[in-house]
């Protein structure tokens, strides 16, 4: 089995190995208001992304620059750059979500999953909930 994997790595050019992952993303607690008031989104990300979280080269060949497996930190940048309609400061602050926003990865507190460094897998579900609309 390991033999076959090694073989395929050596045979295919990097661009063909680069696949994509499909995710379900949901917003709650009023955060959806920043995202066209749509709560549930289905999206596809490249499985390998730039280490600097640049989202401009989305889906193109990443020759040169450093790369990493798509993680939640990249997902946040992707959401901010592609889906967010207004006021990015209410979603992100200092490369992570703004304080007061909870993140669940597959229904588990992201603090148990490595927060932004969690490497996303195909069919993962990520939920962003704002706690800030009053108490």
């Amino acid at each position: 089995m390991s033999f076959r994997i090694m073989w395929s790595n050596q045979t295919f050019p990097p661009t063909l190995i680069m696949s994509s992952i499909t995710l379900r993303v949901e917003f709650g607690g009023g955060l959806e208001l920043l995202f066209s008031n749509i709560k549930q989104h289905k999206l596809t990300l490249p499985s390998i992304v730039p280490s600097n979280n640049g989202t401009k080269l989305n889906g193109e060949v990443l020759s040169g620059g450093e790369t990493k497996p798509a993680d939640v930190e990249y997902l946040m940048h992707h959401l901010r750059d592609n889906l967010l309609q207004e006021r990015p400061e209410l979603f992100m602050e200092d490369n992570t979500v703004r304080p007061g926003i909870l993140v669940l990865i597959n229904d588990t507190d992201w603090e148990l999953e490595g927060e932004g460094e969690y490497a996303l897998k195909d069919n993962d579900e990520v939920v962003f909930i704002s706690t800030l609309h009053g108490g």
Partner: protein, 482 residues
Amino acid sequence: MSADACGNPAVETEATMDRRLKYDRSKACIKCKINAGRIVVRHAVYCKDCFPTLLSTKVKRSLEPHINPRTELSRRKSLKASGNLLIGFSGGLGSTVLLDLISKIYLSNRNELRPQDPTDGKARGGKDHPRNEPVWQKASMTDRGDEIKSLMQDKYQNLELIALRLEDAFDRKWWDQVGGRASTDVAIDVTNEDLYSRSISTSDMSDPIQKLRSYLSALPTHTAIDNAIRTLTRLLLLHTARRTQSSHLLLGTSLTSLSIRLISSISEGGGFAIREEAQEEWHPGNSSSSLPIRLIRPMQEITMKECSLWAWWNDLYVIGKEKRPGGKQGIAALTKDFIVGLERDYPSTVSTIARTCAKLAPKAEAVGSCILCERPLQPGVQEWKSRISIRATAPSSPSSAPVLRSLAPLLCYSCHTSLTSRSSKSISTKSENSPTPLPFWASAHLNALNTVNAKDEGGDVWITRRVGHNEMKGAIGEFLLE
């Protein structure tokens, strides 16, 4: 113990605190030690099955010692409140979760939270077991919106809904309904620190909404408006609790919100009544004969994060609180940003704020209560204020209406500051000629005091009368150099 362990804040580096894992040791639930953890609460990991127990334990710990009229040291006695229950409901996250938890723990016939297994609605110990006696005979809740009505019909049919609006505080109909003492309308002049009051005829200003607007627009800062809204809401609820013969009023203040309140209250000059931020006993009409109404915050050990996940996992619909334009600039909003950030990075610190404040006690006994917020009145506020501040007194002409008295000695430090503290960012442009109406309870207190003073010969000791500029000049004329 080494010197480091005592923690010199100057030496403790960011680096050691910063990259610390958000949870202790293992990812397994610390309660059952079997299931995989799903939520981290202040470094402790819980699974989805143990999370409901965590919340109900916290609610019971904050609430149950205060249910019986006399605080019982032994918890074996059954719980029996002396009156009904009133739950304050704003539609915000905290009160939505509070309503859900209270109705699941106390108002349904099961005594535990079992959201994982909603089919099991059987009461334990049989129908007539004392455990299944209702703790409160009747429960109601208050709101401020139409959206809540449909929620009530769907989910909380066993609760009576009482709608409250901020302007009710200025509405004679509401005041009569809650059984308030008959009172003439009183207005104050907020352009002067002494806050002179006078009666206004009801025809001058009868629309409660107009009176509320006039009251709020007289306030000098956004912080003062936030404070006023909070005080109005609190007293509307307390008077409603009296009307519904409730022994308990519950509010959905989370640990996070409580810490925010504590810090901002201290910074706004409310330090003397800091204990009341967590819990208070209110004596209706200041009579000691009736039992006080207990205002309890059963969620004061539950963080906003726990509230949020509870709402999410139980599919609770959070209507959301109304936001006031300009509210972002007040002390409360700034404190909120600070505490919410602190809670994320150093989750234990926020509970330390609440625990530390719980140990604070005022040095002096209260001298009655503030006529505006009805919280304990600190002695010597005005003397102290006059010592520490340089006041510019604007020249003014005596008004023709009957002069009542200065409100200043009757207000707590916080309320007085709220009404008078102007800053460079002041937003009010109130002039002396547009008097600011007071909420009915404050007018009633003033009326009562004046009646007492009229009978009492020494009454004028109490009254700080406003004197005209010329009269004053006459009185002190010989001392003026000019």
